[in-house]
């Protein structure tokens, strides 16, 4: 099982690839709505990508109130 830091790193890589932004522009505590300039539906799109990658399933409500990569990673990590 990957460590929490590895999970976080993979999420940042996937988000950078998905939204076509340089990886170095993203950091764990970024407000991804602001950094990526995305709305909540686009966030759900990203979540689907992450679920497929990590082979987990997260209900939509788990994402309510989550706006940084670190918290998102912790939600995924507990399901690995």
């Amino acid at each position: 099982m990957p460590t929490a830091e590895q999970t976080l790193d993979e999420i940042l890589n996937l988000a950078a690839a998905h939204f076509k932004v340089p990886r170095e522009k993203l950091s764990p505590d970024d407000d991804f709505f602001k950094t990526l300039g995305i709305d909540s539906l686009q966030t759900l799109d990203l979540l689907t990508k992450l679920e497929n990658h990590f082979r987990v399933e997260l209900p939509d409500y788990e994402l309510q109130g989550v706006n940084d990569f670190r918290t998102l990673a912790s939600k995924i990590q507990v399901r690995l």
């Binding site: 407000d31 909540s40 539906l41 686009q42 759900l44 799109d45 939509d60 409500y61 109130g65």
Partner: protein
């Protein structure tokens, strides 16, 4: 459909529908691509009546209030019907509010019963204000067996055998209390009667009827006035089917259109734009000859449907696109927020009409709708049957405040006679929205008089409701405003909130203060955040009770500086 003139209350109309359409499917519930539940009207009745009986046995009296805090799902509608069956009043609350906000509105509405999903109840139990909850009976859906629910019942177990007594209500009796805003300051609980809903349903279905076989995809939250009407009451009294999808993931929404051959769906701009983005990306991937062919088919469809939609023809010309939407889609319904005309035109040109409308919670669901005769992307349509609209104090361009007189207008604001008197004057509801009628009788909207914004997700955000997040900020005083309220402009869209800061004498705008503001801002859901700030150099005007005189302050700021003074946060 039922002749709604025969009924005095929603409970009676729904009860008749369950008998009349007993063999038709009324509800489908899917979790992503997995169908979880399918109920006929007869099945629905079988599930709802034992719940109604259990409520009766728990001393639930007519007029008792039941709050529902749930995402869109079958138990929402089943619970609502059981409440109406017992003569109760429904209080649909927005599930996206915070636990503290839920507790606040539960207290304000004095709900005796609460129906809530497990994950939301768990969050409420963890809130510091949970001890003060006054709700007597709490029914929690989908709670794992054996979990400590702090005295609440599992919804699935809360049922009794035996026929419950149906409680008939009169037209003037209260059906629902719907909060249009006010979690931070002054809760605005719109008290809506059975007549409000029955009249709204009649006028909407006169233009856009449902019938057995229609499948309505319910995506907007059911607590929202639009989905409550067109995703529950409307389809049910016509024998149609409501499809609940328990996710808003775009890929599963797209899949649901096809899987369930959806006829109608209501969408907010954010979702429609997401669909548009997806389609445009697919078009861009086409080889150039296919793209050229597609463009010519779109142009042909546009030319042939200029005066009115012709769905059969559009399905022939643009078959692949229509099959992508299930092949039976008749229209996308939109309202509740500003929709870019270009997005609506994009879909119309593909042969998928977007029915744009205008309404507000205080006046039921919709006041105007586009009748598609012809399609107009630049208006919000014509007044529905039974709706009278006036433009108050029109300026030289005919633009003024929109006022409404209709049987769909709410009775009053709950426990706020002062606000009710300000809002309903001589039987006319003052909407706070600015509009004018063009020569064909269509309403065009041009902005707002009121201090609020509407997001692309269809959320009404009142500045007062989010100010508490800045409590304790180390400045002399502050206030949140809608940008439009300070600098009125005669257009909608791209609305933003801003923070007005009044610093202490000799205080400088330090980086640490801005960092504090940003951190607090992030605690808000993304759609409630402020976009910028402005430093104001005078004390705020206040009333004798020290409330900020917002209108005067906004006027002072608006006169002194223009919106280029706003600094991005």
């Amino acid at each position: 459909m039922l002749d709604l003139r025969q009924y005095t209350c929603l409970g009676a109309a729904l009860r008749a529908a369950l008998d009349r359409f007993s063999k038709e499917v009324c509800l489908i519930e899917a979790e992503r691509d997995r169908e979880k539940l399918r109920l006929t009207y007869s099945d629905f009745k079988e599930v709802a009546l034992p719940l109604a009986r259990a409520l009766e046995d728990a001393d639930f009296d007519p007029n008792d209030r039941t709050a529902i805090i749930m995402t869109n799902q079958s138990k929402w509608l089943i619970s609502a019907y059981a409440v109406f069956y017992c003569g109760g009043v429904l209080v649909p609350l927005d599930y996206k509010l915070s636990p503290a906000e839920h507790l606040q509105l539960l207290a304000h509405s004095k709900a005796k019963v609460l129906v809530v999903e497990y994950h939301l109840w768990r969050a409420m139990m963890a809130d510091p204000g949970f001890d003060r909850i006054g709700t007597k009976i709490v029914l929690v859906t989908e709670a794992p067996l054996g979990t400590d629910l702090a005295g609440a019942f599992r919804w699935e177990d809360f049922k009794r055998k035996g026929a419950p007594d149906f409680v008939m209500r009169e037209k003037d009796d209260v059906a629902c209390i719907v909060y249009s805003s006010g979690t931070g300051g002054r809760p605005k609980g719109c008290v809506l009667t059975h007549e409000n809903y029955l009249e709204q349903c009649r006028s909407l279905t006169a233009w856009y009827p449902f019938w057995p076989g229609v499948r309505y995809l319910s995506i907007l939250p059911t607590n929202h006035a639009i989905d409550f009407m067109v995703g529950f009451i409307g389809p049910f009294v016509c024998g149609a089917c409501v499809v609940h999808l328990r996710t808003l993931r775009p890929e599963f929404v797209r899949d649901a259109f096809v899987r369930y051959r959806i006829t109608y769906v209501s969408l907010v701009p954010m979702i429609l734009k997401n669909l548009e983005r997806g389609l445009r990306a697919k078009f861009d991937e086409l080889p150039s000859w296919k793209r050229t062919l597609l463009n010519s088919m779109i142009a042909l469809n546009r030319a042939l449907t200029r005066s009115r939609p012709n769905v059969k023809l559009s399905r022939m010309l643009l078959g692949n696109i229509h099959r992508g939407f299930g092949g039976e889609l008749l229209a996308l319904i939109t309202g509740g927020a500003f929709m870019e005309p270009s997005t609506m035109q994009f879909f119309y040109d593909l042969g998928i009409p977007v029915v744009n409308g205008y309404g507000l919670t205080e006046a039921g669901t919709a006041l105007t709708l586009n009748d598609l005769k012809p399609f107009r992307a630049d208006t919000v349509g014509k007044p529905l049957p039974g709706v009278e609209l006036r433009i108050l104090k029109p300026d030289g361009q005919g633009i003024g405040e929109v006022a409404v007189h209709s049987k769909t207008v709410m009775s009053h604001y709950l426990d706020d006679p002062e606000l009710t008197l300000e809002t309903i004057v001589d039987g006319w509801l003052l909407t706070g929205d600015l509009g004018r009628f063009e020569r064909h009788g269509h309403l065009q909207l041009f902005g707002r008089k009121k201090n609020m914004i509407v997001t692309e997700g269809g959320k009404n955000i009142y500045p007062e409701d989010i100010e508490t997040v800045f409590d304790g900020l180390t400045v002399k005083e502050y206030a949140v405003f809608a940008g439009n309220y300070i600098w009125p402009r005669k257009e909608l869209g791209r609305e933003a909130l801003l923070l007005v800061l009044r610093l202490e004498q000799n205080q400088k705008l330090e980086t640490s203060l801005l960092a504090d503001i940003s951190a607090r801002n992030r605690k808000l859901p993304d759609f409630k955040r402020i976009g910028g700030y402005i430093v104001w150099d005078k004390d705020f005007p206040r009333t004798a009770s020290m409330k900020i005189k917002r209108q005067i302050l906004a006027e002072e700021i608006g006169k002194a500086v223009d919106n280029s003074a706003v600094k991005e946060l």
